[in-house]
Amino acid sequence: MSETSKFSLGRTLLLGIWGLFCLAPIIFFATIALRPRNEIIAPRPIYFPTISIETWAKIWAEWPIMTYFMNSVIAVSGSVLICLVLGIPAAYSLARYRYKGREDIGFYILSTKMMAPAAVAIPIFFLFRALGLLDTVWALMLVYAAMNLSIVVWIIRSYMIDIPHEIEDAARTDGASDLRILWSIIIPMCMPGIITAGVIAAIFAMNEYLFTLIIATKQAYPLSVALANFSGGSDGIIYNAIALVAFLAFFPALLLVILIQNHLSRGLTMGAVKG
């Protein structure tokens, strides 16, 4: 056996072990979603349960899961829209103009990403209470947008920087205004960046837990916090409903990520790592 092929076997084995570690809990979780309640918590764990769609129907009837799902959809998509409307012009400004204070403004925007959610949770709670927006999807939408705006600006900015100046210069000599250039040249040319930013902002918003926990107290439950309330007196924590909701959020996220898989590293590092 040559050195390379021996190495390759060990390599595949190591990768396989990690792959199994990733996958096994997910498969177990999937069986949790479809097993009856008495087979979830048993004296010894049951690895091959009775899988029944009836469990699913029962959960569906018991909890307004569709409402939670729609709350998530509205809050998340609204926040992404706000991020793009505010973020695209800001990214354009940072990427394309030279002016005093640009570095500081860019850094300020970035630094909002570094804020610990817990450190601003109390003021945010009082702010939305004063506005009468507690327990509404609107408050969630505004918070998610604020949380993701920095990422969106920085990702899109990185894609805008890559567009050659010559194209704009040509349009400018033809008499196009700066806004016109942004709308009909820059935005179409950095569409992959805009989509990447949107997808990452959507997934982060979908995942958000701490702000959501203090803002949504019943009516506005999105999926991330709704599942934490699936417990009923003597039943304890209702894990099959939690698992079902977990997968309900997982599949859209998976589709979105496959769509942007080649831009993922660039998106996750806010444009700092291309590839």
Partner: protein
């Protein structure tokens, strides 16, 4: 007008962020001078002094650093190892999708999954018993390091892919020919990786660790759902401390004082680490 244009473009985003970050900062400072749940009494710096004498607060800070440091180290080593093994593999896209699956679940769902595996469903204990490591169920909330391990495993499972994806991209972006030239000169795979590929990806590693580090230091969902600080506050993170004093005990003034301290720490850390790695302009 021309000079103002770039400012006008960036202004809406900045105003929005100021409204939702500067305002909370000011509010937290103001509120930290007042005690009381509903009737506010001005107490000056008293709550800061109390905070500095509060064992639980210091404990939560040290927990955050200890748990965070270990978690980040483990995630870094595994992600770098996996990335090194996979980046020249023809099936790299397949491995990447497989490895990133945990990242696509909501952290609250992942917390419940591992709560079930470790505590309520006793799956981990059962697996350990089957391979003969232990004879009886382990109470993972019973000892400091068992409980901390639960939080560490949960985070490592979900977030190692974050670093892995970035490292793979960085390695793929490197010039293949340098590697091949070194291989032709008789360098072993290990030598090529440690003396050529790894040094070249240092800036990427720095950025990835800063981003992941920030997230780990604000860890909240898993302590809130799985451990709630048990045992004896040994798994209470700073985020959970603020949440507990604010939203469980309703000591908003006291929690605000803690928030201000955390905000100051964040600003210092951001200035130290983040500013160096990100530049706005083309140059």
């Amino acid at each position: 007008m021309r000079k103002a244009f770039p400012y006008l473009l960036v202004a809406p985003a900045v105003i929005y962020l100021l409204a939702i970050t500067l305002y909370p900062g000011i509010f937290a400072v103001w509120r930290s001078f007042y005690a009381g749940r509903f009737q506010l009494n001005f107490v000056g710096f008293e709550q800061y002094i109390d905070l500095f004498h509060d064992e639980a607060f210091w404990h939560s800070l040290s927990n955050t650093l200890i748990i965070g440091g270990i978690t980040l180290t483990i995630e870094f080593v595994i992600a770098l190892g996996l990335a090194a093994l996979v980046y020249r593999d023809p099936l790299v896209k397949g491995w990447r999708i497989l490895f990133l699956l945990p990242m696509l679940f909501m952290p609250s769902a992942v917390a419940f999954l591992w709560k079930l595996l470790f505590n309520d469903g006793r799956v981990i204990s059962d697996l350990f018993m089957r391979i003969g490591l232990v004879d009886s169920n382990i109470d993972f909330m019973g000892s400091t390091w068992a409980a901390r391990s639960v939080l560490i495993v949960t985070d490592v499972w979900q977030w190692t892919p974050f670093l892995f994806i970035i490292f793979v991209a960085a390695l793929q972006g490197q010039d293949k020919e340098i590697e091949e030239a070194a291989r032709l000169d008789g360098a072993r795979w290990r030598q090529v990786f440690f003396s050529i590929s790894l040094p070249m990806m240092r800036p990427v590693i720095a950025i990835a660790l800063v981003l992941r580090g920030i997230d780990i230091l604000t860890m909240f969902a898993s302590p809130h759902i799985i451990t709630q600080g048990a045992p004896a506050g040994d798994t209470e993170t700073v985020s959970y401390f603020i949440y507990r004093t604010g939203f469980k005990s309703f000591e908003f003034g006291y929690a605000s004082a803690a928030s201000v301290i955390v905000l100051i720490l964040t600003i210092v850390l951001a200035q130290l680490f983040v500013r160096r790695f990100f530049k706005s302009g083309r140059d």
